[in-house]
């Protein structure tokens, strides 16, 4: 049984419905990311789980119990804010101890747990400092410590690393994952950074317009996106129509396309990454060959990017910098058969 279940959730207000018949299932011990661009509903979902707002319809259940109407302060979930939300008038120690004080634990136990947690997040010696005396990265670790010290079953993260510089972001995301695995809590992590979420998640739910378009492991989403939106998101830049003629998938120009990951269906949109398209001189022999003309060439360092016009659309191709083709050159593009992904199925 899943640890957390959102069923048929409708959320939003007045004319602004953000989630409609939304469902989400999270297993115990998993690190789940909600990935999407602004306005997709990922933060709304997280805040509903936390208890900052209530859904208009639907139920939220945790560990088998219905918590839809359980008030915020009784939910026992740790929440890490994008802006950290540290209490400015309290020291680091008092900030971290706050949740424990609310649970009326004895002073000695509070002291032990707070100091242990500060050691765990590498902030030993900072207990007497105030938030305003600390750097962004340090404040972030205080926010983490404060949420984790109450030993919640579920930790909720709202884009916690957005306000840090790139190097720190990479370092901290590894820290968060390590702590999750060491302390064993279930995590729901909201972000718009694809690389960040793929690096540390067990499951990724890609959200678009209040709906989960695909929820899967990072590898599956990366290699086999289910929708055009996701394909764009993970780096597919070439899309072309395919239809089945006498059992064989065929492109718009009549050439047959051999697709290793074929499945039943009359028509699809095929997509392929720029890195998986080989650029060859015109007239070469190739499986899934498409002839075209070089429009633009962009030097990217180790690679060169070519925009090639073909009969079935414009293709973006990444090639090694040693492969030089002048503008206007006739070329042949080879689409690797095992790298074509089929999306948008339809039956005619």
């Amino acid at each position: 049984m899943a640890l957390l279940e959102l069923s048929h959730i409708t959320a939003g207000y007045d004319k602004n419905i953000i989630l409609r018949d939304f469902n989400l299932s999270v297993n115990r011990g998993d690190f789940v990311s909600l990935l999407g661009s602004s306005g997709c509903g990922k933060t709304t979902t997280l805040r509903l789980i936390a208890g900052f707002s209530e859904p208009n319809e639907g139920t939220i259940s945790f560990d088998g119990k219905d918590i839809t109407h359980v008030p915020l302060h009784k939910r026992n979930f740790g929440f890490v804010f994008q802006s950290y939300a540290l209490f400015p008038h309290m020291t680091v120690f008092d900030n971290v101890a706050f949740g424990l004080k609310m649970r009326k634990l004895p002073k000695t136990e509070i002291r032990t747990r707070v100091m242990d947690m500060l050691r765990l997040v590498d902030l030993e010696g900072f207990e007497g400092r105030y938030p305003r005396e600390m750097s962004g990265g340090q404040r972030q670790r205080v926010a983490l410590a404060r949420a984790m010290v109450i030993r919640p079953d579920l930790m909720l993260f709202d884009e916690p690393l957005s306000n840090l510089d790139a190097k720190l972001r990479v370092k901290m995301r590894v820290e968060i994952r390590r702590l999750q695995q060491e302390l064993g809590f279930t995590a729901i992590y909201v972000t718009h950074d694809q690389e960040e979420c793929f690096a540390i998640s067990d499951q990724v739910a890609i959200m678009n317009g209040g709906v989960i378009e695909q929820m899967d492991t990072p590898a599956h989403i990366f290699n086999a996106p289910k929708t055009e939106f996701i394909a764009h998101f993970v780096g597919f830049e070439n899309f072309f129509k395919l239809s089945r003629v006498s059992g064989q998938l065929t492109a718009e120009n009549g050439s047959p396309m051999h697709v290793a990951l074929d499945r039943p269906g009359d028509a699809f949109t095929g997509c392929i990454r720029p890195e998986d398209v080989q650029i060859l001189p015109a007239g070469s022999n190739a499986l899934n060959g498409v002839s075209g003309e070089v429009l633009v060439s962009t030097f990217l360092g180790r690679t060169v990017q070519y925009n090639v016009r073909t009969a079935i659309g414009e293709f973006v191709v990444k090639a090694d910098q040693s492969q030089v083709y002048p503008l206007g050159a006739s070329v042949l593009l080879e689409l690797s058969a095992n790298k074509i992904i089929l999306i948008n199925p339809s039956n005619q």
Binding site: F87, P88, R132, R146
Partner: protein, 278 residues
């Protein structure tokens, strides 16, 4: 424009205003203050020593301070929940704020006269008190310290609400959310998070209310009586009725000194305890 020209340009702009203030405010003010030390061409502190030893003055001074403190306390008690509600829960903040500051738009004379009607022997309050059986006869609610305090509170509550609102609005929403997520009820959240962070607003508001009450004239004059004088009405009496300008000036100077002292002490305090300064 060279910097020399710019300087003279600014001086010219500032000159008319500062000249006006100097001639019509600073010079008269200084002459009043100086006159209290020189009633008859030689320096003397007799005006002040006489005043301080005057038992009646002591009573009036005590009443001024007492009523100002009481009004400040009442404004704080009433203003806090008001400001908190407007800041955190109100969906129509603009309208609520307009209601809160509405009294400031009417003249103190009109306001005081309205209270005279409401609190009078035949006024609404007395009608209710008698009709509900709480009292056998209409109570004397007017021309005493009670009516003066009511007038002060209504007059200065907007100041307190605005001061508190300013500070409360700058407290980020996610602080109370964070406290809630860690197990704090709304009440504990208010006590441990909102209240400590609003104290600087409370201090600022208290200074405004206290000094306002100490120096208000119309309200105590209309809602008080000759046996409930405060400093400002005492000044009026000495100046207009008794024609003792020297005494009146001395009392006025005492008022100025006291309010300036209280303001500066509390303002310095407020700046020290504002923890939101990052």
């Amino acid at each position: 424009m060279t910097s020399h020209m710019r300087k003279s340009f600014w001086l010219l702009l500032v000159l008319p205003g500062s000249l006006f203030i100097t001639v019509f405010m600073l010079i008269p003010l200084f002459s009043v203050v100086i006159s209290t030390f020189f009633p008859e061409s030689s320096f003397t502190l007799a005006n002040y020593s006489g005043l301080i030893r005057n038992v009646y003055f002591q009573q009036v001074f005590g009443r001024s301070v007492r009523l100002s403190l009481l009004s400040t306390l009442l404004c704080a008690l009433l203003g806090f929940p008001c400001a908190y509600y407007i800041s955190r829960y109100s969906k129509h903040k603009g309208i609520m704020m307009a209601f809160a500051v509405f009294p400031l738009f009417t003249s103190p004379v009109i306001r005081s006269f309205s209270w005279m009607v409401i609190l009078g022997k035949k006024g609404i309050v007395n009608q209710f008190l008698v009709a509900s059986g709480l009292f056998a006869r209409p109570q004397s609610l007017l021309y005493n310290e009670f009516s003066m305090t009511v007038g002060f509170v209504q007059l200065f509550l907007p100041q307190m609400i605005l001061s508190l609102l300013g500070v409360m609005d700058s407290i980020p929403e996610d602080l109370t959310e964070a406290a809630g997520s860690l197990g704090a009820t709304r009440f504990v959240s208010f006590l441990r998070i909102v209240f400590p962070l609003s104290v600087s607003g409370l201090v600022t508001g208290s200074v405004l209310v206290f000094t306002g009450c100490m120096t208000a004239y119309t309200t105590p004059q209309l809602l008080g009586a000759t046996d409930t004088q405060v400093l400002s009405t005492m000044v009026y009496q000495y100046a207009m009725s008794l024609r003792d300008w020297a005494q009146a000036s001395a009392i006025a100077v005492v008022m100025i000194v006291v309010t300036m002292l209280v303001s500066s002490v509390f303002n310095r305090l407020s700046r020290k305890i504002n923890p939101l300064a990052a």
